[in-house]
């Protein structure tokens, strides 16, 4: 009896594993085709012509800031010279207890103004609005603390332009990222309600005065593992999702949103641990339910650089938070899962998110328990175990290598040391790092105090980056 149960559990795990790998390989190959095409278009297509085009829609860059006094000025200065014909910057001081507001007032010659504030999305009370008198077109909204989602909503309210780039205070925008993203808007202005960008870890790279001088692979294992993860996510997965017009997530660090569409769905959900995924999915649901033509797309040439956790302790908090966000989203959007009404989103990408992201740690933990038991009871022979482990390793390596090959479009990480570091990481990440990540996701499922806290990211800040240590 126990042998039968273990055998069936083994078969079920195997089928699940094969499905997941086929899905990942399919996405990787499809992304490869998309990326190859994008590579050609970006090489020859002269997207930069948009810089002088009268057709480029103006954009509001929305930056929520909570206790960012150390780096906010450098961040805003860095963003203020992004290549784009017309944009304004809106910083939301989300009830900071440090000198964030004072730093901004001093650096950008801000002046308090009385202007009509359209509270299209309800937010925590706004205390004051400041406008820059210098060369930077900046507005600062000083409001009571309400969290990141609330601050973003205030920024959307204050945005004067029809599109809002929602980002973070501690990122570096590539010079052409806004042009790249807005190209997708211009392609289909009526239907495009959101464009996601390509987020890359900044740790270990050379940064000067808030600008990336040279991208390098971090020497530390924890951020280096995340470089591979980000490449897999943003180069081997999202291009395919986007091409299917079934992108379930626009990452919070870089998302261009159509203001009217965000207002129509009620803005970001306050207190949600995955407010970016939540808003993306609500956008899909709103437009499909109301039969409004739309599209949510991803643009790999819209690159931004962000600091990722340097230590396992901080990474653990981040991953638990992400998985809690996913759990809430899975619960909220359960009726969309495997629902043909929602097309490829419901049947493929969101269904896969449910199966291979939400359920994966559960299935994996079942495997951790059943495989040694089956081995001990003789229900599983060592050859089968070897085959399963070798396949898991081989497929994992395949996905990483595909992502690294796709990254060749960008021409980063070409030194011998960087290449060696990435290849070594692709080989070793399956031994330990992956299992730790699964354990954190299981921890998120269990719940408790740690899973409810947002947690401090302990960042160095854009201004202080450039030196590892």
């Amino acid at each position: 009896m126990i042998h039968d149960i273990l055998a069936w559990a083994g078969y079920a795990t195997l089928v699940y594993f094969i499905l997941m790998q086929l899905y990942m390989i399919g996405l990787g190959l499809r992304s490869g085709a998309v990326m190859r095409r994008i590579h050609h278009l970006n090489r020859f297509g002269r997207v930069s012509e948009m810089l002088s085009s009268y057709t480029s829609p103006p954009v509001t860059i929305v930056i929520p800031a909570y206790n960012e006094a150390a780096g906010i000025v450098a961040s805003v200065r860095s963003m203020s010279i992004v290549g784009y014909p017309r944009f304004e910057i809106v910083v939301i001081n989300d009830g900071s207890s440090d000198e964030t507001l004072e730093e901004l007032v001093e650096a950008f010659n801000l002046e308090q103004v009385r202007v009509p504030y359209r509270a299209d999305i309800p937010t925590a009370p706004v205390r004051a609005i400041y406008r820059g008198r210098g060369t930077v077109d900046i507005t600062v909204i000083d409001k009571e603390n309400g969290g990141r989602a609330d601050a973003l909503n205030a920024g959307i309210n204050a945005a004067r332009y029809p599109y809002a780039l929602c980002t973070d205070a501690d990122v570096i925008l590539d010079a052409n990222c806004l042009v790249g993203a807005m190209r997708r808007v211009v392609e289909d202005r009526e239907r495009t309600v959101a464009v996601g960008g390509n987020i890359r870890p900044l740790n270990g790279s050379r940064v000067q005065l808030g600008h990336l001088i040279r991208a390098e692979v971090p020497k530390r294992l924890v951020p280096r593992m995340q470089v591979l993860e980000y490449l897999r996510t943003f180069l081997a997965t999202r291009p395919a999702w986007s091409q299917m017009e079934a992108l379930p997530l626009i990452s919070g660090a870089f998302g261009v949103w159509k203001r009217s569409a965000v207002v129509a769905v009620g803005g970001f959900t306050i207190g949600h641990m995955g407010e970016d995924m939540d808003l993306t999915m609500r956008m899909h649901r709103y437009h499909i339910d109301n039969k409004i033509p739309y599209r949510i797309v991803y643009e790999p040439s819209a690159v931004i650089w962000t600091e990722v956790p340097e230590t396992l302790r901080v990474l653990k908090r981040q991953r638990i938070r992400w998985h809690r966000g996913l759990m809430t989203a899975v619960k909220d959007f359960l009726p969309m899962t495997f629902n043909p009404k929602y097309g490829r989103l419901g049947m493929i990408t969101w269904a896969a998110m449910f199966l291979f992201e939400f359920l994966a740690p559960i299935i994996e933990i079942v495997g951790w328990i059943t495989i040694p038991t089956a081995l001990a009871l003789g229900a599983l022979n060592t050859t089968t175990l070897f085959v399963l482990l070798a396949l898991a390793f081989g497929f994992g390596l395949f996905n990483s290598l595909v992502a690294l090959l796709l990254d060749e479009s960008y021409g980063h990480f070409n030194s011998k040391a960087d290449t060696a570091r990435l290849i070594v990481m692709a080989l070793i990440e399956n031994f330990g790092m992956r299992q730790i990540t699964v354990a954190w996701r299981i921890r998120a499922l269990i719940g408790g105090k740690i899973t409810r806290a947002w947690g401090n990211m302990e960042r160095k800040g854009v201004a202080n980056l450039g030196v590892e240590g």
Partner: protein
């Protein structure tokens, strides 16, 4: 064949694929930088050789025919093509023709694939093609690949080929939005040459079910800014039933300007559609004629936020408009005061009022404005 054997075969296949990918990655990484560096070195060498040819008109350094297929050579020609003038252009064109570069690129463009080579060919022809290339570019303005259509239009624009205007206009209404706006940019580059073909296009196509091409054509006309087109735009504004067309016409009238643009915009300022009122306010601000100050001042009391805001912003840019806005600060209607205060802050009047206040020379209007801005703990509505 039993299950473990199948599994082992799968493992071998996966590992072989992994090893191939790994080797491919190492090779790519190793050659990436060297390839880029070599390309740049060859390009620099070609620029030097071509420059010598242009300077002495002697062909002492013979350029190999194979160069016509080298991306570095094409880049070098494009580099020089953008900086030389007069007889040098003729010499360069002679060199390029002698190598058959343009013909080779035309042949590549005519192929069905690969996309990279076809795009390269389209970009090259757009940059270095001459009048003899125009028919090929016109032929490919309906290419299946959007980016190639864009490059062909760009090339025709660079050559200022008038036949190209009609070819582009023929596709304006049926193109996808990205290509349409790129075509529009090209048409703008034609300048006054494109004015009357665009006007004819609008006359023929206005009122059809699909107005996308007409809207783009109107925007192009506005950006070209030829004042002779004012009556045509007024006519479009009068007869069009599609609000999107009307909005485009209002915006274009604002760019074109001139006394003839004011009456139709003044009329639009009283439209029942708030979008037209708001757009008309902005357009009037753009024209810069202070005779409309009174009409704009009336719109500061409009029921719509955008109309109030645009009217105030327009007044902020017009001569004497700041006085109208300051006078509005005495208005009993708070929405009008809010709109006026926002613009007064934007145009620097608020800063000036503060400075005068600090210097002890504030006027009555300054005090009124400052008191309004700093009144109360919660200053927002």
């Amino acid at each position: 064949m039993n299950a473990p054997t199948i599994g082992l075969i799968a493992v071998v296949i996966v590992f072989v694929v992994d090893i191939v990918l790994l080797l491919g990655l190492v090779v790519l990484k190793a050659f990436h930088r060297r390839r880029t560096e070599r390309h740049e070195l060859r390009r620099a060498a070609y620029v030097a050789t071509l420059s010598r040819h242009l300077a002495s008109n002697e062909q002492s350094d013979r350029i190999d025919e194979a160069a016509a297929d080298d991306d570095a050579f094409i880049d070098a020609v494009i580099d020089l093509r953008n900086v030389v003038s007069g007889r040098e252009i003729e010499t360069l064109t002679g060199l390029v023709d002698g190598l058959g570069l343009v013909k080779r690129q035309e042949a590549k463009l005519r192929r069905r694939f690969p996309l990279g080579q076809r795009l390269r060919a389209a970009v090259s022809l757009a940059e270095i093609g001459d009048e003899t290339t125009a028919p090929v570019l016109i032929e490919h303005i309906s290419d299946r690949e959007a980016e190639i259509r864009i490059q062909c239009a760009r090339g025709l624009g660079r050559m200022q080929n008038t036949a190209g205007i009609d070819a582009i206009l023929e596709r304006l209404g049926i193109e996808d939005p990205w290509v349409r706006v790129r075509f529009a940019d090209t048409l703008i580059g034609f300048g006054a040459k494109a004015t009357w073909p665009l006007a004819a296009y609008i006359r023929v196509n206005l009122g059809h079910d699909e107005n996308r091409g007409v809207i783009e054509a109107i925007r192009v006309l506005g950006t070209i800014g030829d004042r002779e087109i004012g009556p045509i735009l007024s006519g479009v504004l009068r007869v069009a039933s599609d609000p999107e067309v009307q909005l485009a016409a209002i915006e274009a009238l604002g760019f074109v300007g001139g006394p003839m643009a004011i009456p139709p915009l003044d009329h639009a300022l009283r439209s029942s559609d708030w979008r037209l009122r708001a757009k008309a306010a902005s357009a009037l601000g753009h024209i810069g004629d202070p005779s409309v100050n009174r009409a704009l001042a009336a719109r500061l009391k409009d029921e719509n936020w955008w109309v109030r805001r645009n009217s105030a912003a327009a007044l902020g840019s017009l001569p004497g408009g700041d006085q109208v806005l300051l006078a509005t600060m005495r208005s009993p209607e708070q929405p009008a005061r809010d709109a006026a205060a926002e613009t007064l802050a934007d145009i620097g009047t608020l800063t000036a009022a503060r400075q005068r206040d600090e210097a002890g020379v504030a006027t009555e209007e300054d005090i009124l404005l400052l008191e309004y801005v700093i009144a109360g703990d919660r200053i927002l509505v």
